[in-house]
Amino acid sequence: MSIYLPIAELSVNVFVLFGMGIAVGFLSGMFGVGGGFLMTPLLIFYNIPPAVAVATGTNQIVASSVSGALAHFRRNTIDLKLGTVLLAGGIAGAALGVAAFSFLRSIGQLDLIIAIMYVVFLGSIGTIMLVESLRARRRVKSGGRVDVRRPGQHNWIHGLPLKMRFRKSKLYLSAIPVVGIGLAVGILVSIMGVGGGFIMVPALIYLLHVPTNVVIGTSLYQIIFVTAFTTVLQATANQTVDVILALILMVGGVIGAQFGAAAGLRLRGDQLRSLLALLVLAVCLRLAFDLVVQPANIYSITPVNLETIQ
């Protein structure tokens, strides 16, 4: 059954999109990730214009983060204060990102930058995860105890001014790195159409030493607001949010996540992480391949308004 997407302005198969939503939702439920980094490339592979894929992706992430954040809220595993400070940076980052997005789109380099950012981020994170999970697996096999690294309690971050107390995280640290992380992730959210959890979570754990039990909830909490803000900005500045497309993906994603979460319980942590790493690397390779192999069409047509160029 085909459906006409009013903003993307093309007719697509609704079952393919729904299936994509379920598949990505399944994986995100299984691995406990947002799935934006899979959804946006998949949409691009399915010939949705990258600008629409990215902006619609952020809209879809709002939905997939809400259920997760609600669960964490009930379990009281969100540091609202830390999340709100992150959010302040995130909003600024998203605004910067959307401005960059509009600019890159006008000079015709948006698709390239999106692809390069995906290759760089997916490639590095996939590699780190794979190496880490293989090490963990070796330790499990050799019977050694899984060593919990105690990160150094003090580093340069703790010397920064503007200190704040984050009670739930049991932290007393400067607002500057918190806002900075929020800002960096906000830029990624708006340009890549992701939630940014895959950067946010490691940054909170390794840079700020936020306790792991509140990391995911806090990250999800601020993702909702940053992606919601980005959606509104994209809709205003670029008119690239396709609400029909987003709705199909949301419904598929919410359903898929339930089955994924159930499937995830049957796998060991290191197995899950190595599988996720391989998946991330596969998407990365596919995007990298498209960048370096001569495209079928080296020419492309973009409607413009020549009056505004002058």
């Binding site: 009013p6 809400v66 949301m250 419904v251 370096v292 069409n297 409607p303």
Partner: protein, 281 residues
């Protein structure tokens, strides 16, 4: 012969006389005047045309459509009909737009957009149907003047002055035509017009699902011996309708409200998801 008969029955009788007269006259005329035929204005063949619809609604299950153009040749010459000398060409032209044609080049191993050319007033949609190949319809000059045929469509290069042009523009305009053909936005169909009987014709043209929104003009041209005799123009509208129209116009006129609604939809969907599935947690 001076006053045009209104009823077909009468036409037949007069046509017969006309035919006999022409039979006698034409060889002499052709010999005397060469390729230029002289016909009295009232006797000239004209083309009549009607479009199957004046509105193509684009809604959620729109997957393209076929548009039919019906018409007739009036004052048709019997001999020309018998000898199949008439050519009918139907052209649909979508709203004009300015486009940028970009060319990718390899930079440090990565393919990226480098050079670009701007073209003004390019039809966003262009379809030609004819009853024979276009090069058999009329000479190139005539077709070019009438803007008939994808390859004869003039593309107006627009130079911004700031760009350094290294590659010649023909590669760009060729690619513009080729890409539009691949996307089914430019098309030619040399069997798209069929005669029903002798003077009635029917043209069918495919409207793809990504047809541009706006007013499209339809022109039917009549040719004989490579000469353009007559043409008629009509229009039809492609318009988003119902929900699609609402979504699109809201997105473009009220981006903030649209964005807020999109967020609301997401919040409700996510919340519903956790209500429906989240009980067990």
């Amino acid at each position: 012969m001076r006053s045009r008969p209104a009823i077909r029955g009468e036409l037949r009788a007069t046509e017969l006389i006309c035919l006999i007269a022409l039979l006698l006259v034409i060889p002499g005329l052709a010999a005397a005047q060469g390729p230029t035929r002289e016909l009295e204005a009232e006797d000239r063949e004209t083309i009549q045309m009607g479009i199957s619809t004046d509105l193509i609604p684009v809604n959620s299950n729109f997957a393209g459509e076929e548009i039919a153009v019906f018409g007739a040749i009036e004052n048709a010459d019997r001999i020309a009909q018998v000898l199949n000398e008439y050519s009918v060409v139907v052209v649909i032209r979508g709203p004009s737009e300015d486009v940028l044609v970009r060319r990718k080049e390899r930079v440090f191993g990565v393919w990226m957009n480098r050079q670009a050319r701007a073209y003004r007033n390019v039809p966003s949609f262009y379809a030609v149907a004819s009853n024979r190949r276009l090069d058999a319809v009329a000479p190139n000059d005539t077709l070019r003047r009438l803007q008939i045929g994808v390859s004869r469509l003039s593309l107006n290069l627009y130079s911004a002055g700031t760009q350094t042009f290294i590659l010649p523009a023909p590669q760009f305009s060729r690619s513009l035509r080729r890409l539009r053909i691949e996307n089914r936005l430019f098309s030619e169909d040399s069997s798209g017009v069929a005669f029903l009987g002798t003077s009635l014709f029917r043209a069918t043209l495919n409207i793809p699902s990504d047809v541009p929104i706006g007013t499209h003009t339809v022109t039917a041209y009549l040719f004989r011996d490579g000469q353009h005799l007559s043409s008629r123009t009509g229009t039809f509208e492609v318009r988003k309708q119902g929900f699609e129209e609402l979504v699109w116009s809201l997105a473009h006129d009220n981006g903030v409200i649209y964005g807020l609604l999109a967020v609301l939809v997401a919040l409700v969907t996510g919340w519903l998801g956790s209500v429906v599935f989240g009980r067990g947690r």
